[in-house]
């Protein structure tokens, strides 16, 4: 275990606590930069998809993990980002500007929903976001030439310096860069008063309000930011999908995003990355599971994917509410304290219903 003695303020606010962290994150960065040259194009594409999930995951994590507001409609922001981006590119707007505008459009929608959500307690919000998602889905399906309706719309894939955007290596670095920016921004945001306010709202609205946190503003900001990042991920995802259809942004996607943050670990940015890897590679894992089941003579399990999502969500929430990252922290603690680790350290304590009602 390493204890850092802070003697200067700069140390307190530094991004990395000590050289060990600098070393490991540096190594990770180098590994990510050289990785595409060591992998087949298929895996480069899959890795880019994991980065896109992670970008959306940062957005959802800010809202669900840090502000404690559940949204069941994040697929809508993904769709808004994707369709706005596609439309702008069709009219010849350059790629970076289109990405920014798509992000902005999603943020505006998010602020609107967030503003509507202020008047509700947490639980109403989940339903309201679901309602919002259904309405957006309806608009997408009946959007005429702009969205292409149920038949969908083809994505324009612009060239950059003579390289197509979806060239696997270019796209990999693009997504990696955007993800790095998003995580850097989120880390800094969470150390700022706004980020602290998010956490305060999550832990107790009553308490946060009496400490002077402006509830309405904090929630709207959280919602807008979360929607913005999700919209950005949607815009990138649009390139990957190639042909936008309404089914690509159904309720299932919202659930996958929730699965991402729960499996990764609510309330940690590391968790986002773990969760994104999990969600990104889950289809492959399930395909393998399907082959295994076929070997046992069970040739068809309809709805396996959806059922697996649900089961994993339930099991994680009951047995490891802190997700993969929480488990990692426990394992690390075991090594840190090696001969002295006490089993009871992380034992789930008896807890009672915390009521939000007045009687």
């Amino acid at each position: 275990m390493r204890f850092v003695l802070t003697t200067r303020y700069a140390q307190d606010v530094a991004l990395f606590r000590h050289n060990g962290q600098r070393f490991w994150y540096g190594l990770l960065a180098i590994a990510l930069l050289v990785a595409p040259w060591l992998m087949t194009n298929f895996y480069v594409g899959e890795a880019a998809m994991v980065f896109i999930w992670a970008i959306a995951g940062v957005g959802v994590m800010l809202l669900v993990g840090y502000t404690g507001l559940v949204s069941l409609g994040h697929a809508a922001f993904l769709a808004i980002g994707a369709y706005t981006h596609a439309a702008l590119l069709r009219y010849g707007v350059p790629l970076p500007l289109a990405l920014l505008l798509a992000t902005g459009a999603a943020a505006a929608a998010g602020a609107l929903v967030g503003y509507a959500a202020l008047r509700m307690t947490g639980v109403y919000l989940a339903v309201a976001t679901l309602a919002f998602e259904r309405i957006v889905a309806y608009l997408v399906e009946h959007g005429g030439a702009l969205t292409g309706g149920v038949r969908g719309v083809a994505m324009t894939q612009p060239q950059w310096f003579g390289i197509s955007v979806i060239h696997s290596h270019f796209f990999y670095y693009l997504c990696l860069g955007v993800l790095a920016l998003c995580i850097f921004g989120a880390v800094n945001l969470l150390r700022s008063p706004t980020g602290r306010a998010f956490v305060a709202v999550r832990d107790s609205e009553v308490c946060a309000e009496s400490m002077g946190v402006h509830l309405a503003r904090t929630k709207t900001v959280a919602f807008a930011l979360s929607a913005a990042l999700t919209g950005l991920a949607g815009a990138l995802m649009a390139h990957k999908i190639g042909h936008l259809v309404p089914e690509a942004f159904g309720v299932n996607v919202s659930i996958q995003l929730l699965l991402l943050v729960v499996v990764g670990g609510l309330g940690s940015l590391h968790g986002v990355v773990f969760g994104a890897i999990f969600v990104g590679f889950l289809p492959q894992i399930l395909a393998l599971a399907r082959d295994q089941l076929a070997a046992f003579g069970v040739d068809r399990v309809p709805g396996l994917e959806v059922g697996a999502y649900g089961a994993i969500l339930v099991l994680f929430l009951i047995f490891e509410p802190l997700g993969v990252y929480g488990r990692w922290l426990k394992i690390r603690a075991w090594f840190d304290e090696f001969p002295l680790y006490r089993k009871a350290t992380y034992k789930k304590q008896k807890s009672y219903l915390r009521t939000e009602r007045v009687h």
Partner: protein, 290 residues
Amino acid sequence: MSELLQLLVSGLSKGCVFGLIALGFVLIYKATEMLNFAQGELMMMGAFVAFTFVNLAAMPFLAGFAVTLVVALAFGMALERGVLRPMIGEPPFAVLMLTIGLGFVLRTVAVNIWGTDPRTLDVPYAGEVLVVREVVFGYDNLIVIGATAFLCGGLWLFFRRSRLGVAMQAASQNQLAAYYSGVPVKRVASLVWGISAAISAAAGMLLAPISLIDQNMGFIGIKAFAAAIVGGFGSLPGAIVGGLLIGVSEEFALRYLWPGFGEVTAFVILLVMLFVRPQGIFASLQKKKV
């Protein structure tokens, strides 16, 4: 005129189903402060279980109905005991996500037991109509309305007159005080889940003759949720009124408004309601204030 009446009746019957599912939500929410997003899936399971008893085991309809209610009651209680009780004290959104996951699992279980093909429940009144002055009403719609009224009456009596019902009310008003007064709060919570599952199953069986039984019928649970909020979350009559309101407007929107718009009417009403009167028609819950 006759068309309007027919739409009204079919809308009311649809609304009754929404209302019953919403009632299930509200019961659970009042008693345990948990939001059960798997309520629609409980309804689906109820419909499938009834299908098993009535169609496959060839039981008389009423007997199959009764047995299904008992099975649903037991299932709801088991669910509370096994899955939801470990979640007491966890943040509300964790419970919410848990029930969403549960809904997905139930849907997959249903597909694997009963298959993907839509099923029809054999009811004795299928296809029969009542003609009053040249206006045709389907018995299936009328029976939904009648059965809902009967169920609501029964529940009202149960909560007003029976010892257990009063104990449930006490537990939902203040768990700690109820516990001190000797109400077995844990067992009551279990029973509430059971009753809620049974009501949903009843809704599923009533809906089955009108629409088909398949693994996706649980999606109307989302509309029922909207109904519960429009009615004023936490109010039992509100759930039914909200359900009726949404059912009728959806039926009229399907007929008179843009194609496909009927499917989102419930959500439009919900969002408008949240802007105009967020506490719902019958406001009963207040938020903690500083």
